[in-house]
Amino acid sequence: MAYNFKEEMNKPERFAGGHRLCAGCGAGVMARNVLRAIDEDDNIAIVNATGCLQAATFSYPYITWEDSWIHSAFENAGATCGGMEAAYRALEKRGKVKEKYKFLAFGGDGGSYDIGFQSLSGAMERNHDMVYICYDNEAYMNTGIQRSSSTSRFTDTTTTPAGSVVPGKPQNKKNLTEIMVAHSIPYVGQTTFLANMKDLNEKTKKAVYTEGPAFLNVLAPCTRGWRYDMADLLDITKAAVETCFWPLFEVENGKYKLTYEPKKKLPIEEYLRPQGRFKHMFKKGNEWMIEEFQKEVDLKWEMLLKKCE
């Protein structure tokens, strides 16, 4: 069915207000729009890894989520969700659960790229019928903006401060989406927020309604950690896409597809400039950092284009 934005927006809210995410938080926008893609009559059960999203959405007794929801720890959303899905298979077989359920796990880049990486990999490999959604904000935001393996090179974080000797994070960003593709699971999608949320909505639908494990990586900016004006969320995600820093693509049963190709690939400065975490890269004498960053973006983009041919 063709995407109908107004129909999607007309669905009842599954993510209530009154949570304690920061003003302008990308994780809140991510959660609302992922949930909006699910058919309103469908039952879902959600696992949330420890992180901003978890801490802000269930501070006892104020639960934000309208569906059944569980948090147990930081590094185990994959395994917890897998256990839940195994329970569903057992109870359905034994006639104790009659309704259909879909299973979603949410984790930040800390809970997905790093501490929860093994648990995520295990759950995907074991073929649980579930969707793992990583909301990637490129650092450990809940503990105060420390670097993660998802943090880009040169980024100024509280554990990779840009100093006079070390220019921010020394290492490149890990590509978790590609690692998930390497698990040979039925569906992997990479997306972020664009005006009518079509890309995110359609990828979520595919992820949820494809049988078997699926992985969704959503770039979800953090105004505090990235140091941009909180109203500028859409400008930042657009720049991430238009510079090809965060390409929109999906892999269905091994087949790569670009879901959006910029008409004119913008220089990486368009993405870096508005963000305080990259400010040092624009100082005189640091031009090489921007060049290096651009090279890395170009390399990854070319590799992706080849896969999408």
Partner: protein, 101 residues
């Protein structure tokens, strides 16, 4: 089964508090006011609004309700005043104003 989580406050004793912190029925954060975090306030200029609904999709705080495929006025109880809605609106139908105005 009994519903859990209503009426929990700082006076609840260990005998009354819900088992393992379980809360039922979802959505209870609606009772928690986050509108008082706001420094500036979005104001809906209905006459400019074309009902494109982009603002409501981009609100992190579920503060722009939709009824019959149309947005209605802001729910200020949870709006933290981030200003994303004003910024994403293509039609200048939202204006951020100081709280005191």
């Amino acid at each position: 089964m009994r519903q859990l989580g209503d009426g929990i406050n700082a006076k609840v004793t260990w005998k009354e508090i819900t088992l393992a912190g379980i809360v039922t029925d979802g959505g209870k954060s609606k009772d928690f006011e986050t509108g008082d975090w706001r420094n500036s306030k979005p104001v809906w200029l209905a006459e400019n609004c074309k009902q494109c609904l982009i603002c409501t999709a981009f609100c992190p705080d579920s503060s722009i309700p939709v009824k019959d495929k149309k947005r209605v006025d802001f729910e200020y109880k949870h709006c933290k005043g981030c200003g994303i809605c004003e910024k994403v609106c293509p039609f200048n139908a939202i204006e951020m104003k100081g709280e005191e105005e």
